[in-house]
């Protein structure tokens, strides 16, 4: 059973000006998040992903549709009940949102106090969490004394304090430099692996999805326009918006401008062959071309690794008789995707 099940969820806000049109932030979204998933939600700013994640822990009420968490319908529940449910859902933020008036230990203890833990229970739990995020020596520091990466680690420790089953990460690495981003992503991976916490990652950066997500949903204009396994969406994005996101991280597919340059520089036909894990190997393809007596040259390309599965695109300049080339390409096309530049 899905841990989070969204069915036809819509969130609208009243028109910003009188007589204007209401704003549809989330538009008829249906999405299942299974236990153990690291579910990435990607989209440009204003695509509705931050609103969507706030519907999951009911910080915002949905306008219509159904939201189930752990089999429990959230829409229509009174605020008091929702607060209990939020104890079981952690959340981390782009700006960390630590309490500047409290020490690191005080920040991590806060959700435990809300949950009604006693002082004697809180202290060892805080120590354990600090140990997990590697900040045991910072217990008495204040947030302003920490670096961005350390702040986010405190945010993660705080979000995990009550052992939630679900962690919502709202652009959690967007304010960090690339190196620190990787550190925080590694930590999130550990949270998923060691504690089995399901994670929803909101981001506008495709490399974040690439490094930790197992599933991905692409949002645009409040709608989920494509979703599924990260590998599938990355290797064969169906939607043009998804393709643009994928292009920001996937190496090897020449842009139209690059294709024009390639054609100028190389004789023969320019053909892009796309490999996916499990398809024919490169060796088979090259063997086929060689057998047909074709002269070919690798002019552009790249192989990507997503969650341990590889896919990639190789662009070749092929010289030879047209008929022989056609025959060889047709035979290859039976096994892998072949696109010839017009």
């Amino acid at each position: 059973m899905a841990l989070v099940a969204l069915k036809n969820v819509t969130k609208t806000y009243p028109a910003p000006e009188k007589g204007g049109r209401e704003v549809v932030a989330v538009d008829d979204v249906t999405l299942d998040i299974e236990p153990g998933d690291v579910y990435g939600i990607i989209g440009y700013s204003g695509a509705g992903k931050s609103t969507l994640v706030r519907l999951v822990n009911a910080l915002e009420p949905a306008s219509s549709g159904s939201i189930e968490f752990d089999g429990r319908e959230l829409t229509g529940l009174p605020e008091r009940e929702l607060r209990k449910i939020r104890l079981g859902i952690g959340m981390i933020f782009q700006q960390f949102n630590l309490f500047s008036s409290k020490t690191v230990a005080g920040n991590i203890a806060y959700p435990l106090k809300v949950a009604g833990w006693s002082k004697a229970e809180i202290a060892p739990r805080v120590a354990e969490l600090l140990e997990f995020v590697g900040l045991s020596d910072k217990a008495k520091s204040y947030p302003e004394q920490l670096s961005g990466g350390q702040k986010q680690r405190v945010g993660i420790a705080r979000a995990l304090a009550t052992s939630p089953r679900l962690l919502l990460a709202d652009e959690a690495t967007s304010a960090l430099d690339p190196e620190t981003t990787q550190e925080v992503l590694e930590l999130l991976k550990r949270v998923n692996r060691e504690f089995g916490v399901t994670i929803v990652v909101i981001t506008h950066e495709m490399d974040v999805i690439q490094s930790i997500a197992t599933k991905v949903a692409v949002m645009d204009g409040g709608r989920v326009i494509e979703n599924g396994d990260v590998f599938d969406v990355f290797s064969t994005p169906k939607n043009s918006s998804s393709q643009r996101f994928v292009a920001t991280v996937v190496k090897g597919l020449p842009s139209p401008a690059e294709l024009a340059v390639l054609r100028e520089r190389h004789e023969g036909r320019i053909v892009t062959i796309s490999f996916r894990d499990g398809d024919a190997s490169q060796a088979q393809v090259f063997l086929e071309l060689a057998r047909a007596g074709l002269d070919f040259e690798l002019v552009y390309g790249g192989i990507n690794d997503i969650q341990g599965r590889a896919f990639g695109h190789l662009t070749l300049a092929i010289r030879g008789e047209d008929a022989a080339t056609d025959a060889a390409l047709a035979s290859i096309a039976a096994r892998v995707e072949v696109t010839e530049a017009a």
Partner: protein, 219 residues
């Protein structure tokens, strides 16, 4: 100068009265102002306990009283002071009026400082399952504590100013002392002496407030 020494004991009594009025006004007005300020902050649309009716009533009432010049306010409130605490003149009556005026001023200062607390921090507390009253008590007020202390320091200085005016309509204190023994008896030295003590008093308060705020803000 000789006149000042003659009045020595009365001078120090007046100084004590000023201190007494300021302290009690700060205590009573400070507490009521804090409650009103928190209510203003939390009932505004989109805040933790949005309630248009409460917010609008408070807003209008406070806006009604705030612009009244204090010396006229004192005269206007006098009948109520007589009714509530049994007497219309003297320090206790003044504390009554001072506290009302101070509450309204403090409520605005509290509201302004609470608004500066980052909405993200409040959202984080909400996401952890905290309720609105807990958030006000354990997040909003602690996060705004530094600026709140500076705001209260500012208002204490204003209260010192107000006690001097209270001296004009039946209150005691250094303001009254300066008027009665200095101004009306053509003894500028006495006026200056009263002024000097007030300045020292205010400086002391300001230093203390700054020190406390720095300690809370850790900078």
């Amino acid at each position: 100068m000789d006149r000042l020494f003659e009045l020595g004991s009365e001078f120090w009594v007046a100084a004590y009265e000023t201190f007494y009025m300021v302290a009690l006004t700060l205590l009573v007005g400070g507490a009521i102002g804090l409650v009103l300020g928190v209510l203003l902050y939390s009932t505004r649309p989109g805040s933790l306990l949005p309630n248009r009716a409460v917010f609008n009533v408070l807003n209008v009432v406070i806006n009604f009283f705030r612009p009244i010049p204090f010396i006229i306010f004192l005269a206007a409130v006098q009948p109520f002071a007589r009714y509530v605490i049994g007497i219309g003149i003297g320090n206790d009556a003044m504390i009554f009026s001072l506290s009302i005026a101070a509450s309204f001023a403090i409520s605005r200062i509290v509201e302004q400082n609470l608004i500066t607390v980052s909405p993200g921090t409040i959202e984080a507390a909400r996401a952890m399952g905290a309720g609105p009253v807990r958030i006000l008590r354990t997040v909003v007020i602690p996060e705004a504590l530094g600026p709140l202390i500076l705001g209260y320091t500012f208002i204490v200085v204003a209260i010192v100013d107000m006690t001097a005016m209270a001296g004009f309509i039946g209150g005691g204190g250094l303001g009254n002392f300066a008027l009665v023994y200095g101004y009306r008896q053509f003894e500028p030295a006495i006026t200056w002496a009263a002024l000097l003590v007030i300045v020292v008093f205010v400086q002391g308060l300001q230093f203390f407030g700054n020190w406390l705020a720095r300690k809370v803000l850790r900078r």
